[in-house]
Subunit: 158 residues, 2 copies
Amino acid sequence: MARLDLFKFVPFRLNRLAAEVSTALSSEYQQRYGLDIPEWRVLATLGFRAEACSAQYIAHCTRTHKSTISRAVTALMARQLVERVENKDDRREFALRMTRKGRALYQRLIPRLLRKEWEIMSCLTATERKDFARMLGKIEDSLDLVQASQDAGKAGEY
Amino acid sequence: MARLDLFKFVPFRLNRLAAEVSTALSSEYQQRYGLDIPEWRVLATLGFRAEACSAQYIAHCTRTHKSTISRAVTALMARQLVERVENKDDRREFALRMTRKGRALYQRLIPRLLRKEWEIMSCLTATERKDFARMLGKIEDSLDLVQASQDAGKAGEY
DNA sequence: GCCAATTAGTCGCAATTGCAACTATCTTAA
DNA sequence: TTAAGATAGTTGCAATTGCGACTAATTGGC
C-alpha cells in the first residue's frame, strides 16, 4: 500500500514555505510601497546590475513570463520609478533602468527585505544557514535553474 | 549603498524552486490524471489519514483557502473519486473520503510522485537530504507552519 | 539582396484563486 | 428560550498571471 505523508513531502513543503515567506515579505514591498511581486523583481534586477538591461533579460533570469514583466514595467514607468531608453542597434528592445526616484525607493526597501530574510533564517545557526544555501544551490543546479540565469547574463544574449 | 543579489536572496530562491518543482510534479498528476494542485492536495490528505475528514480540515492543514478546497472537492465528486457523508451531529459539515476509484488512482499516482521527489533530491547525499529536511522543519516551526497543521489535527477542532 | 526564421515587446483571453458575502447550522450566554 | 456570534461550505466577483497571437524589427541561409 503506497502512502505519502504530505507533511514530509518536500515539494509540498517547499510550496507552503515559499508561499508563507512571500506573504511575510509582501508586507514590506506591497503594503508599504505598493509594489507587487513582478514589479519588485524588476527593481531587484535593475538594482543589482550596474548596467541597464532589457525586459527579456529580467524575464529570463527571474523565470517570470515576459508578459508579466511587460506589465510590471508599464506600471513602474507610470509611477516614474523606471525609464527606458531606445537601443539604436536593435530597435525592438529597450534598455531599462531605475530613475532617481526608483533608486531612492530601492534604497529604502532593500534593508527592510534583508532584515526580513534575516528574521526568517535566524532560526538556523550560521553553519546551518550556509549549508542550507549550499544545498539549495545543488538542487537549483540539478534543475538547471542557475544555468538559465547565467545564460541570461551572457553578454549580448537576450 | 544597500544592494541585494536576487540570486542569493532566499525568499526569491524558494519561490523559484517551489515553482520549478511544482511544474516537474504536475506532469504526473496534471497531464496524466487530470488533477490540479488543490485536487491533488485533497486526495493526498484523504489518502494519508485513515479516517474521513472535513473540507475545513484539509483547508487548514494544507494552508489552502476553503473556497479553493470547496471547488476541488466538487470536481473530485463529479469524477467520483471522492464522496461525502453527512454528519448527523453537525449538519453543516461533511466527512470526505475517497471512493474505491479514487483510492485506485491514488495508489497509481503515489509511487510516481515519490519517484519524482527522489529524482529531485538525489543530487544531495543521504546526509544532506536528512539535514535539508531538518532545516526545513526548523524554518517551518519558526513560522508556525507546523503548528497550524497540528492544530488542525486536534480532535474536534476545525 | 531577399525571404524565412527568430526575437522583443504588447495585448486579449482564459484559467486560477483569494476575498467577501451569503445560507444553513451550531453554540453560548443572558 | 432566544438572540448574537461563530463556523462549514458555496458562490459571485475581481485580481493576477500564463498562454498564445500579434506587430515590428533583426538575423541568417541561399
